[in-house]
Structures are given as C-alpha cells and as structure tokens.
C-alpha cells in the first residue's frame, strides 16, 4: 500500500496485488450531488455521462470503445459525495487507462448538442430508476422529508425541472471547478509494479494544472426534533416501509458501533430483524437495517418489504420495536462476537477483487477523509463493546430523530393475480405516480 501526492495536488493510492493478471485504474472526484443547489440538481450525475462524450483526442464514446479493444471494462457512478470512474484492464494496459483518464480530466470538449442529448439520457435514466420505480420514489420522498436544509435532501438522480435548465456554460464552470487534479484521488490496484505506475502517472497527470481550492460549505441541517412521516400510494406488487434516523458523518467515532448494530439487526438469517419480521411473525419477506454512511451526516435506515394484504401498521410497530430493544437491552456477548466475525469475514471477502479494494479505498479517502480507515476497519469493529452499541442506539435511534415513509399498495391493480380469471379489465390506467422529492 503506497500513497503519494503530485505537485498539482493529485492524490495517488497504489496497491500491488499479484494474485491474478488484472488491474484497475479508478479516479474519484470529490464532487457529488451535495455540491449542487436548487436549480442544478442532477448536474453531477449528468457530468458523469458527459465524461464519456468526447475530449480533445478522444471522440464521443471512444473512451469505452478503446478500452474494450484491449479487453478492458469501464463504468462510473455518482453518489452524494463522489463521482467515480473505473476501468478494469489487463495489467499491461494500465498506462493506457491512466492516459485516457488524464485526457478527460482536463481536455473534455462540450458541445451544446452533446449537452442537450445527454441531458435527455440522464432525464430518462431518472424516469426509469426513480419515477417508474416505486422504491426509488419512496427513497426520494424519504430524503426530501429527512433533510430540510442540507443538499442530501435530493439524491444523485437529480430533478428533471433543474436538469432542463442546465446550460453548456454551467457545465463548463462545473468542470473547471471540480475536475481538477487537486480535487481527485487516483487509485491503481493490481498486478503491476510501483515504479512503472509512478512513471505513467507522472507522464500523463503531471502536466495537468491545479485548480482553485473548492469551498466546501453546505447549509447546516438543523437537528430534528419530532418524528416526520409520509405515505405514498402507488400501484406496487411489493410494498415497502422505510425508516431512517440521522447519524453523524462517516468519519465520526460512533459509526463503527452503528455498523455493528446494523449487522446485529440485519446480517444473515439469524439477524434480529429477519428472525422477528420474516420468521417469527411472518409479516415481511425481507427486513433489515443499515448505516448509510455519507460524508457530512448519514442515515441509519430500517426497512421491510412485504406481500400486499399484510398489516402495515403492525409491520411498522414491529420494525420500530426491534430498534427500541437495541436501546433498552445490552447486546449479549455471543451476538456481539457474531457481528464482529461477520464484519471481519465480509472485509476479507472484499479483498478478493482489485476493483472492490480500489473502490473501498476511494470511498474511505473521500467520504471518510482518510484511506487508512479502510485498513483499520476490522480493528475498530473489534473495539466496539455492548455498552457502545446501547449508547449509540440511545443517542441516535430515537423517535424524535426518525423519518418514516410507507409505500402503500394501490388497490386493486397491485393485488397478486392468483388465477387466470383475474385478467385485468381494460379500465382506465392507474394514475401516473406522484412525483416525489426535490420539491423543496
């Protein structure tokens, strides 16, 4: 594990891993949907698309095509906090992948026609993933309710009305501010030698110009003081309930204890939520909880998915009752040991893919603020005590800090059709799903 910084501010993380003839090159930019504002929500994700649409020496879509010719795979993702680009290649093409990433970091060519057409693509993706997807809508609604000031109140999918307004000039300004070496972390993991990687990075990224420092000030989210609730009624075959509590940012000292608690609640079929809601009471087909760690503040989510026709109020009560138990009773030693083993094993399993290791390093560096945290994860989980778990449950998982969204099935279309006799009549179509989220 090596880390260094170029004079232009580019941080580099490198791990040699000779287990298999494969390597990955990933660039994490420290920009996500939280760097947007009302008026350009969705531009970070749109930019992820634009980065494939041509640079000075690479015509539109050629980035992916060129890598494919040598057996490489490429993709990208955008979250609230980061935008990441990754390619997995045969080791002898690491230099080529680095060259392509350096090219598009500063040489993008944005034409109005490209911006227009890609805007449509991003809008369609949003329709497909969120607007046409009941769970996507529930999450969007949830975020809009849980956050009132902070940009985490919208998701990386953005808002169509805002996307419509984004101009090529806005894109250029966004690019010039965020797509700079001093705002990025380059990660190389795989069957390659450090000296060759150093030379390659120096050659391709060395000449790129440092940009201005990015101001990271965000509207502060006022502490929540009372429970917030909403119900969405949609034609859905698998209704869902989602609850969430505000928790601190990913680097906070309480996060490991919250991760351990999430593991106790939902990892494996012996977990508390599964045992209670799926098995004992047979209310849900899936139930669990997890700590969604984000840079500035996170959410501890609990959820249940169930067949239509089950008592949603009872499911809600039971879900929250399992959370309450974590506040009132200390975790028994074997349950704590099990959670530690699960977290440790999951960590070791994750080391099996160079792509996964690079991704975790990138997220640790940018979301948690330090890549070393990836290495120390297991150690921190080992230090969590039963008292810690109870303390964080009491501190964060309380009703006044809870936001709860219920996705209710719309009758009758959502009922399962058990017999052929239930051939649907030609009746009027279900009304279009209400647009949720982002309506601040």
């Amino acid at each position: 594990m090596r880390s260094w910084e170029l004079p232009n501010g580019l941080r580099v993380l490198f791990v040699a891993n000779h287990q298999a003839p494969v390597a990955t090159v990933q660039v994490f930019y420290h920009v996500g949907s939280k760097d947007e504002h009302v008026g350009n929500r969705g531009v970070a994700h749109m930019f992820e698309h634009l980065m494939f649409k041509g640079s000075e020496h690479v015509p539109p879509e050629e980035h992916a095509r060129l890598l494919k010719e040598v057996g490489g795979l490429t993709n990208a993702f955008t979250t609230e906090d980061v935008t990441a680009y990754h390619q997995t290649v045969p080791p002898s093409y690491v230099d080529f992948a680095i060259r392509l990433e350096a090219e598009r970091m500063r040489n993008l060519r944005l034409f109005p026609a490209t911006v227009d057409s890609e805007r449509k693509v991003v809008e369609e993706e949003k329709r497909l993933r969120i607007d046409n997807n009941p769970i996507g809508q529930a999450i969007e609604r949830f975020r809009a309710l849980a956050y009132t000031k902070h940009p985490y109140q919208w998701t990386a999918a953005g808002v169509i009305a805002d996307l419509e307004k984004v101009t090529p000039a806005d894109c250029k300004a966004f690019y010039d501010l965020h797509y700079r070496p001093n705002n990025a972390t380059l990660i190389v993991v795989g069957d390659v030698e450090e000296q060759a990687v150093r030379r390659s990075i120096e050659t391709h990224f060395g000449p790129l110009e440092r940009g201005p420092a990015v101001a990271r000030t965000y509207p502060e989210e006022p502490p929540q003081t009372a429970m917030r609730e909403a119900t969405l009624t949609l034609p859905v075959a698998l209704p869902v309930l989602v609850g969430g509590y505000h928790i601190p940012g990913a680097a906070h000292a309480d996060i490991p204890a919250l991760q351990v608690l999430a593991t106790i609640l939902s990892a494996g079929e012996s977990s508390r939520m599964h045992r209670r809601l799926v098995r004992k009471e047979q209310l849900a087909v899936a139930a669990g909880g997890f700590a969604e760690a984000m840079e500035q503040s996170g959410l501890f989510l609990v959820y249940a998915a169930h067949l239509p026709g089950r008592d949603q109020e009872k499911i809600r009560r039971t879900l929250l009752d399992e959370v309450a138990k974590a506040r009132t009773a200390a975790v028994a030693a074997p349950e704590l040991a099990k959670a530690r083993n699960q977290l440790t094993a999951a960590y070791v399993f994750g080391l099996g893919s160079v792509d996964g290791v690079a991704r975790e390093l990138g997220l640790s560096e940018l979301v948690e603020g330090d890549w070393h945290r990836f290495l120390d994860d297991a150690e921190r989980y080992d230090k969590v005590t039963a008292a810690d778990v109870k303390r964080v449950a009491t501190k964060y998982l309380i009703d006044s800090n809870l936001t709860f969204v219920t996705l209710k099935p719309q009758a009758p279309a959502a009922a399962p059709a058990p017999a052929p006799a239930e051939t649907a009549p030609a009746g009027p179509p279900p009304p279009p799903a209400p647009k949720a989220g982002g309506a601040s």
């Binding site: 003839p21 698309h49 990754h86 997995t88 227009d116 997807n133 698998l238 998915a305 994750g350 099996g352």
Partner: protein, 545 residues
C-alpha cells in the same frame, strides 16, 4: 440471459429488496457489477448510458462529431493482447466411491474457501402444472431444517463464523454454495453434509418460502424488462417447452411437502452431482474431510429428463403488453438459438459481439442509438445454455419510436446475416476476449464456477482454459457461416411492453400481427385463453381501434 446458473426466482426478490440499498446512492457498494464474458447481454450498466432519444442527436457528422473527423492526433488503442490459454491453478479431480465428482481448485493468498455443489436437476425436471416451482422450493427448504439442526441453528452456525450459505435452483441445475474463512471450512462441510444428505423439510417452514416466491412473482409485474422477458419466452418456446412455462402463484401455492421430499430423493444423489472447492485448501487434507462429510451420501439411478423441442414457427408474431404508466417502451425480440456445446457456439458468440454484445462498440448501439437516437440502450445475446436457447435483442426506447428501433435493428441483423462481420470487427472482438477472459476468472471461486458450468454442459475443463483461444480462432469464413446460419430476421418473436395506445398504431402500420394484452393479464398464452372473461381486445388477434 439464461446461463447454467440461471437466477432463481427468489434471487430476483433479493435483488428487488437490494434496490433499497442502491437507489439511495449509498456509497459503500461492495459488489461492482461485472458485465462481461461471452454471451453477456449488454443492455444495462453501460457507462454513459445509451444516449439520445431526443431526436436532437445528429446523424454521424453533426457538429459535435465533425470536430474529431479526419484528425490524425487522436488517441489510438495500443496493439491488442495476444490470446493465450488461461493459466489455471492445478486442478485436482477425483471421484468418491458413491460417484460424487470432486474438483479442488487450490489458490493460496486470501484465507478464504468456497464450496460449490451442483445438482444436475432443476426446473427442467418439473412437470408442467403439477410440480412447477418444486426445484427452487426444494433448494430453499434445505437450510430450513437438516440433520438435528433447526432453521435457526443452521442460520446461527453459518452467521457465527461470518460465512455465507445459499441454495437455489435454476432451469438446468440446483446450486448450493458455502463460503467462509479457511479456518471455518469444516463448518461449511458439516452444513453441506446436513443439507444434502439429511434435509428434514419441516412443514411449518413452508409458509416463509411460499411468501418469498409469491413476492418475487408479484415483483415481475413492476419490472418492464422482466415482464418482456417472460412474455418473450412464452411466445418463443410455447407451452410445450419448459422455457416457455410461466410460474404462477397457484403453482407455488399447490406445492406439497411430499413433492419436495420426492424431488430431493429422486435427484439429490452423489452420482448426479459435482463439488468444487476453491481457495486456500490443502488438497490432501481436504479430500479426507470431504469423504468424511459426504462419503455416506448414497447413490441411486436418477430419472431421465424428457426431451423438449423448440417449436419451429415461420414469420413474425408479436405481443404488445400495455403498461400505460410507462414513459419508455421495452422491446425484446428474437428467435431460437443454439446450445453452449454446439460447435458453432464460438463463432455465434463472436458474431453476437459484433452485432450487439459489446455495448458502444456494437453495430446495434452504433446504428440504432448513436446514429439515429432511437433507443436508450440496445444489446443482443445468444445464451450459453445446456439446450438450444434463444437469440434475443433487448432495447429500451421511447414509445413513439418503438417500431423505428425495431426496424433498424432487424435491418442490422439482416446485413450481418448476408455479409458477415468485417476483419476489423473480428480483430476487435479477439482483442476483447484475449484481454478480458483472464480477469473474469479473478477469484478461485469464479474459476470453480466456470469449471462446473463447463462440465454441466459437457464441455470439460479444457473449455475454460482455451476459451480465448477458441474465440480467437473464429475467422471470417466461420463467422460469416455462423451469421448466415444462426441469424434469422424473417422469423421473429417480438414483445413490446409500453403504452399500447402509442405503440399499436406503429405495429399495425408495419404490418406486424400482434396480440395486445394488459400488463396484469396472465403471461402464459394458455392461461389467457383459459380465462373465462375475454380480454377487451378479444383473445388473440389484432385489436381493433
């Protein structure tokens, strides 16, 4: 796409619930999607997802593309890698006296071991309308009671060591997997021994599995792609072929404990199974442990499987599934394909790479999307299946341009069938497979799964080792011959899921005969015909305006 490890119904449910994690844009995603390997469909997960359907994208040569035309300073790809045989770890293969085929894939490094058991029985061994769904139900019940252990004790045992234990059935086979840190290998072996040899099928546990299967069936109505795929299979394979059967809630509700026990007794036999152990294992010691755990599994003759024929249908036929709330139409069409072990499979795979198996590099993406902006994404695949499966194209498009996209895609298929791929296209495909094949087998467990899949299809370990070489051996002559033989643009099954009011007039204008059905109507054509109430359009036939 169907593959040997085709996804069980319950796995789709897990995926559906998983969306809770993904849609939140949650940072810590640990399993990146891998979309590679021969036959991989290429519709989702493309980087800058498929572009403009705005109609604003210019033909190749618009102002944006003109900027790069004729330039000599553009970045070119370095020479492609040379195809080579895969350097597999030394694989130790042996047979237990009871007939169990054992393969050890040792690779030191991470202290992880993974066990994969494949039972050569699955959905293809079910009886239509009598035991449909029984294979996956049986697999799901294994960890709900086995030996002296209850469902809770089994879950406790695997969770306590942080391992993973799963059992599910696809059409061709049933797969059990157990992975754990190497120091807990015996936990896996002991659990697998109980699950395979001594399942107890507690009747009280059946309701939970039933609920999960029902939830998964309900979920397919919410997912246009899945809905299109199920309609397509039913239309192409028909009611007489298991690939065409549609699993319905009443099938799941009808399954009895006796059927589960009978399925297990008939098919879960060592002489009908294979075991692969991959990772940090000492082969000599592992063999003894396997014998102790599975040596007492008793063999028995296994019932034969009925032979199925893919019905031969001439001409074009279509189903339009009306889902008026959708802003996009999902298109799936195709015709019968070939089996994995067919001598033409390598050539057909390369032909498909050129046509629609290579994302942005493919002809379909270039012609339908980049040049005409008629789709958001389009891809095609021949599966890699035990029996002749399907060649299928799938695309998402605006409702208004569904038929335009279809026409352009069919034209491309016709062109490729007539003229075959070019030398340049073949060279690019060769480079792709030469480079990517080694790292699709990055982990020992991926190697184990690839080997088991090859064995299941009668291809042998050599198939895995020589895959890139055999794909590279496809030349212009064999590719042209395969394109001519295996592409058939005149005899197509077509499914469109979208807004019927917009799509129907297009199909009518194109002269494509179609049946219009509601998205809530039964997927099986037989079930629709059996419905006491006629469909609004009248059962079958073209719906009058």
């Amino acid at each position: 796409m169907r593959s040997w490890a085709s996804v069980s119904v319950r796995a789709r449910l897990a995926w559906g619930a998983g969306i809770v994690f993904l849609a939140g844009g949650c940072g810590h995603v640990t399993e990146p999607p891998k979309t590679t390997g021969p036959g991989a469909a290429a519709t989702a997960g493309a980087p800058a997802a498929p572009a403009s359907a705005s109609g604003r994208t210019s033909e190749k040569g618009g102002p944006d593309v003109a900027y790069w035309r004729g330039r000599t300073d553009l970045i070119k790809a370095p020479p492609p890698p040379t195809p080579e045989a895969l350097p597999l770890p030394p694989i130790e293969r042996s047979k237990l006296p009871n007939g169990l085929d054992v393969m050890l894939v040792p690779r030191q490094g991470l202290p992880i071991v993974s066990f994969t058991v494949v039972i050569k029985a699955g959905g293809y061994d079910e009886v239509k309308d009598q035991t449909q769904g029984v294979a996956d139900f049986t697999a799901a019940m294994l960890r709900h009671g086995a030996g002296r252990r209850s469902a809770e004790q089994i879950s406790e045992a695997i969770d306590a060591v942080g391992g993973a234990l799963d059992a599910s059935a696809g059409s061709e086979s049933t797969t059990l997997t157990c992975s754990a840190l190497a120091e807990h290998a015996d936990t896996c072996l002991s659990l697998l021994g109980d699950l395979l040899l001594r399942p107890t099928f507690p009747a009280a546990e059946m309701a939970e599995i039933r609920d999960q299967l029902l939830a998964a069936l309900g979920g397919r109505e919410d997912d246009p792609h899945q809905l299109a795929a199920e309609h397509f299979d039913n239309l192409l394979f028909g009611e007489g072929h298991p690939d065409g059967w549609v699993l319905m809630p009443e099938h799941v509700n009808r399954i009895t404990r006796e059927q589960l026990v009978a399925f297990w007794k008939a098919y879960y036999r060592p002489n009908n199974a294979m075991l692969a152990v991959a990772g940090a294992v000492d082969p000599a010691a592992m063999k003894g442990r396997i014998t102790r755990a599975l040596g007492s599994w008793s063999g028995a003759p296994v019932p034969g499987r009925a032979a199925f024929q893919v019905p031969e249908v001439r001409g074009v036929r279509a189903i339009l599934v009306d889902k008026p709330e959708l802003s996009q139409a999902t298109l799936m069409f195709g015709h019968p394909g070939l089996r994995h072990a067919d001598p033409d499979w390598y050539a057909a795979t390369v032909v498909n790479y050129v046509l629609g198996g290579s994302d942005f590099s493919s002809r379909l993406m270039t012609e339908v999307r980049s040049k005409r902006g008629l789709t958001y994404g389009i891809g095609s695949s021949f599966g890699a299946t035990l029996y002749p499966g399907a060649f299928r194209v799938s695309a998402s498009t605006r409702n208004e341009t569904a038929d335009d996209a279809l026409k352009v895609a069919v034209d491309e298929i016709r062109k490729l069938k007539t003229f075959g791929p070019t030398a340049e296209e073949l060279a690019k495909a060769r480079g792709y497979y030469a480079g990517s094949t080694p790292f699709t087998l990055e982990s020992p467990s991926e190697v184990a799964r690839a080997i088991l899949g090859a064995e299941l299809h009668g291809l042998g370990i050599d198939y895995v080792k020589r895959l890139a070489l055999n794909l590279a051996a496809v030349d212009l002559t064999s590719a042209a011959a395969a394109a001519h033989r295996w592409l058939d643009p005149d005899d197509l099954a077509i499914v469109v899921v979208g807004r019927a009011a917009v799509v129907a007039p297009q199909l009518r204008k194109a002269g494509i005969p179609f049946e219009q059905v509601s998205s809530h109507a039964p997927i099986s054509s037989a079930a629709r015909r059996a419905a006491p109430r006629p469909l609004p359009s009248g059962p079958g036939g073209v719906r009058p305006d």
